[in-house]
Amino acid sequence: MSQTVTNLQPQQAGAAASTSPWLEGWRSFRKNKMALVGLGIIVFFVLVAIAAPLLTSYDYKAQDLMNRLQKPSGDHWFGTDDLGRDIYTRIVYGTRISLWVGISSVIGSIVAGTLLGIAAGYYGKWLDMLISRTFDILLAFPGILLAIAIVAALGPSLQNALVAVAIVNVPVFGRLVRARVLSIKNEEYITAAKALGMKTPRILLHHILPNCMGPVIVQGTLGVATAIIEAAALGFLGMGAQPPDPEWGKMLSDSRQFIANAPWTVIFPGLSIMLTVLGFNLMGDGLRDVLDPRMKS
């Protein structure tokens, strides 16, 4: 036996302290400059959202009719809107709304989509038929149209816009997870887990689910960007956030009549939407390189 041990030493000589696949993922993520820029943008907006009251001395609801449609200045960095509200303040507070809608709706989509996807992929048969066909039907509608229909049924509010965006994105995650489960459940380590006497719930939660999560995290990051745009679009159409909430899409639609003589009223909300979406997209692409097994050579 001692002979065997010495034979095996050289192979393992280079192995340093244990690194989890997640830590190694972070190391390769760090090498991707664009992804780091994306992460930076996201961290920036998250900090803005958390520190909103510290960043401005105005109230986002306070109207100042004497100072309507003011140009950007020392007093009003991004100018004021048609009711004299400080646009900078409204954008800072709007960050909270957009991030909240984007992230929480995606978490909702991921939870529902993962549960349905695992059920469809693992149990198959009629359950798979039922769930997959439902996904197909949901995906047959253009996302925003379906969201409008759902909000129309539930009544316009930020809460319902969030629910609508979440529902629209469930099939995206559901199909992704189902496809992963279909391939993972035939992996030898799943057969091995069964051969060791593990129960189905343990195999699903402890072995199949974590191995599905890479692409879901990638899709989730990209999904936040989509959700923010969809929520802004609903806001723009008057079906999302209601006045006086400073939702970016709503700010765009409220100010679009002033685009010619007070462009700052639309430029800054538009830029904010663009930047957050860009941030999530850049980070999502970076994560895809790290986590998506199909991208690994």
Binding site: T4, T19, L196
Partner: protein, 324 residues
Amino acid sequence: MGQTLLEIANLQTHFKTDRGVIPAVDGVDLTIRKGEIVGIVGESGCGKSVTSLSIMQLLPKPVGSIAGGSIRFKDEDIAKAGESRMRRIRGEEISMIFQEPMTSLNPLLTIGDQIAETLRIHRKISKKDAKAHAVAMLKKVGIPRAEQIVNEYPHRLSGGMRQRVMIAIALCCEPELLIADEPTTALDVTIQAQILDLMKKLNEETGTAILMITHDLGVVAEMCQRVVVMYAGKVVEEGTVEEVFRNPQHPYTKGLIRSIPRMEDDVRRLYSIKGSVPLPGTIKQGCRFAPRCEFAMDRCAAELPELVQSGEEAGHRSRCWLNG
């Protein structure tokens, strides 16, 4: 001669496919005694792996199912055991290791977690004790620096090391039977020898019986006490390894033994049995080996011979009209 541990009688395992029911295992009898190493040999597609999956009730559902026969493990027919009973048996009393060590471990769990998980399913022990036991198991299967490796993820280990880890997981609950389905096929030749040595050593130390499924007669010669030769879903010959190798009775076994390359012979071409294993279920009548057999007679195509005593030693049986 030890006590009988596993006794398979007339096992029938069927696969339902679009082309009808295929009897992948068709009336297999097999006995394993406590502490014994038994080999099953045969070409691809002759039903070796299906036999082992039948024992574990891990046949792909709903396609494959046990259609008849019994699998007596100790005093219980586990072919008829329910899922919850089978879960208690799997890993605790019968364990299994697979061909492909590179994909048999969960890539997201550490080696230690995977051993400890199995332990904690079957034993009521604390996480700390399970971890300590995992380190002890890794040492037992000859893994160097076990205290560090226990915290490693599988991708850091080579194929041979992973197969050792698989053996550690399979043996951590001290099962009475280990089913090894081509455990060395995917490994380098030098690593193969190490793994076989390890399995033999553990068999001697722990008394765990091993059912060795392989297509490699060299592995059988090295490891096993008894051998069962399968062809197209049926046992065609069985006996002690020395007897079967010295005095093979069935033409198929003779052919297999003749196709082993020998260093002392100066031959250009290796001997091979002509043709290939028929698809299960395509030969309905007579001996299944008849179409490829150089000694085939009219009778062979018409009637299926029984597995009967042949050769000199008791328990050496073959299924051929030449020996009947």
